[in-house]
Symmetry: none
Subunit: 409 residues, 2 copies
């Protein structure tokens, strides 16, 4: 059930401020049964002190057993049920690479492919080229193709064989079939609108079919990357904004395109952050500079996830320690409600996103007593907040911030 209409009815504007800290992929696993997780191994005096004055719980980001990608993981934390608020693959890729992707645009996931002389697919991934090769070929396409049937066509490198096309023009639809045949030995499929009477989608299909032909012409002398297959064709979704649903002015403090993109999908203002990569000091400065202007802040740290994906237990624990050192500056801002959690687990033993629940720390008025001594998975599993789903977090934060009225009389 989509709870946003219910929450929208109950939410009210107040001056209280909520700070939601997402330590990407923060949940972990012990290296052997009975050992500490990355969080438990980290030396975190500030988090420990905070945990003793907070309530803890475990959050299943999307569904038991599901290891969520960043898109559904974050949408859940923002209160948008990812099974209700769908983001097409093309749109998610466009958002993930930070493309210029606006309302009405259509995002398309492209695969570079190798075709034979008859135009049949020999390799659906064109031998998995390097990112540099991808950039070279994308430049060639940019130089040769900028418009088809009055529709502006923009190309972006994603990685290896993956690229993104953004179509911009009046009257485009997204209800069209993929051109990727999902197998070799056949020609790329023509794209068709799902419904012939849907003129907007018919236009998108025509443009994609013309684009397939144009790309073959432009790349005809390339030995390996001489074709393109399209899938996940999707418009930028239009979700109700956090301002509409929660009556908050919401700001995003993040460094990587995917997180800024998902935040902007739910209507957050994306604040400029100085510095490279995770830029922790730049993020603190951005928060400080805009603290008065907003009443909901989403603060994202990426490196707990990347070190987990690298399988580097010690380094992931170290990234937690770096966050711990920042914590006093965050507390100095005196958020009325502070939540610290993750969008999913990324145990370094798995080197990947996992399905394990993430620990949640809630520092706010009106908490029950809680036995937690530290911010760890073990402590969280005994926490007074119990086990929650990701989408249940926002109503809880709003309630503790005094932003939710009574439901029913």
């Amino acid at each position: 059930m989509d709870m946003l209409p219910v929450i929208a009815e109950l939410s009210q504007k107040t001056p209280s401020k909520i700070l939601l800290v997402v330590l990407d992929g923060v949940g972990g696993l012990p290296q052997q049964h009975g050992g500490p997780t990355e969080l438990a191994a980290a030396h975190t005096p500030n988090l420990d002190a905070l945990a003793k004055q907070s309530a803890l719980g475990l959050l299943t980001p999307v569904y038991p057993g599901l290891a969520p990608g960043s898109g559904p993981g974050h949408l859940s934390l923002f209160g948008y049920d990812p099974f209700q608020y769908l983001v097409g693959r093309g749109a998610l890729s466009a958002i993930g690479i930070g493309a210029d992707f606006q309302d009405g645009d259509v995002g398309v996931r492209g695969n570079f492919a190798t075709l034979d002389a008859q135009g049949l697919v020999v390799d659906r991934r064109a031998g998995r080229p390097s990112d540099a090769e991808n950039v070279r070929v994308v430049s060639k396409l940019k130089a040769a193709i900028s418009e088809i049937e009055g529709v502006r066509v923009s190309f972006y490198t994603e990685s290896e064989h993956r690229f993104v096309v953004i179509l911009r023009g009046a009257g485009l639809g997204e209800k069209v079939s993929d051109t990727d045949p999902q197998k070799t030995g056949v020609a790329p499929l023509p794209s068709h609108p799902h419904n012939a009477a849907d003129a907007a989608s018919a236009k998108t299909a025509r443009v994609l079919n013309a684009l397939t032909a144009r790309i073959r012409e432009v790349l005809h002398d390339e030995p390996q990357i001489n074709g393109a297959l399209f899938r996940g064709i999707s418009e930028k979704p239009r979700f109700p904004s956090m301002a509409e649903v929660y009556k908050v002015r919401a700001a995003c403090v993040a460094s990587y395109p995917m997180y800024k993109g998902v935040a902007s999908l739910v209507g957050m203002d994306v604040l400029p952050v100085e510095g490279v990569e995770d830029a922790p000091q730049g993020k603190v400065k951005a928060l400080q500079a805009h603290w008065e202007q907003y009443d909901f802040f989403y603060l994202h740290f990426k490196k707990t996830d990347s070190t987990g994906e690298d399988g580097n237990f010690q380094e992931k624990a170290h990234k937690v320690e770096l966050f711990d050192q920042l914590l006093p500056e965050l507390l100095a801002l005196k958020p009325d409600v502070l939540a610290i959690t993750g969008d999913h687990s990324t145990p370094s033993v798995l080197k990947a996103h996992s399905w394990h629940p993430v620990p949640l720390l809630l520092h706010a008025p009106f908490l029950r007593n809680d036995p937690a001594q530290r911010f760890t998975e073990d402590e969280a599993s005994k926490g007074s907040l119990g086990h929650l789903r990701g989408v249940e977090l926002m109503p809880l934060l709003l309630a503790h911030a005094g932003k939710l009225q009574k439901y029913g009389a």
Copy 2:
């Protein structure tokens, strides 16, 4: 929300093996406040040792407060939401008694009734006859009635006044009304198709109405069992198979018809089991003999439920001890993922299925630490898996077995 389409998109074939042990009705209650449950009273050295290396949690099979029957309890454990995947009462009875019930057949729950000279219902249960009386009357019906309007009619004893009719023939439908008026002093109702234009269901209704008349003729000289009332008229449901949804080759190791029937509804192969009643050694042999051929095994033990229904606390605890003695042979098979749980609770103090959550033990790679020392309800309620719903179990098992890909990017 039905999660099976989502899971079907994410599941992948791997060589890992999952063993799901269902101790029927395993959840219990203390005989007095503060006392041990049946599980806690049992001497279970093998389960205790396993619990220390596992993660525990509590599973609410269907919904808080609902005491599920075997059908919905098991469908949930298999990941099929029983509110979405409905099994009609007639179909469930046909499955429960192990009738020959095939795709396209229509199963009907019959009640033997007593009618007066005017054909009005005097007793909707014909004085609750013994099973032997039921068998005698069913034999009489079998001898006299085998076909109506080209439709094969088969009779089966269920128990007391309950019997099952299976209709087999081309072009039968299930969308028809019951003939049971649910009160006395009136005649049995004629069955009608819900929609007059539904020719298949109209045929079923005609057959049932003719059958009602034929049964009266055949039983006209019986003093008490001289009529029949039909309800729960339902085709064998066609559910997506576990092979389609989870990409596993799934096998059922069970002794009783109901469990084999529900397993076959979700496409499991039902393995032959030597021995009578619960046949524990026969089940272990069946597992051993087919271990290489399958990658998902459902292993069912019945006696924890039957002893609970008998109200025999000691005997239920003893059945747990018998399972404990089998455990080393199951562990010797080295399943990658082993789950031990129940389809519902059957506390001996209640002598019936109950709504209490069942304990869940998960022995698998990639577990968080867990304080459990034993496999009991109390330990499970403090377990690191938290509280889950029955339908959430399968995605979790698949995830731990490496059979679920990431959800979204």
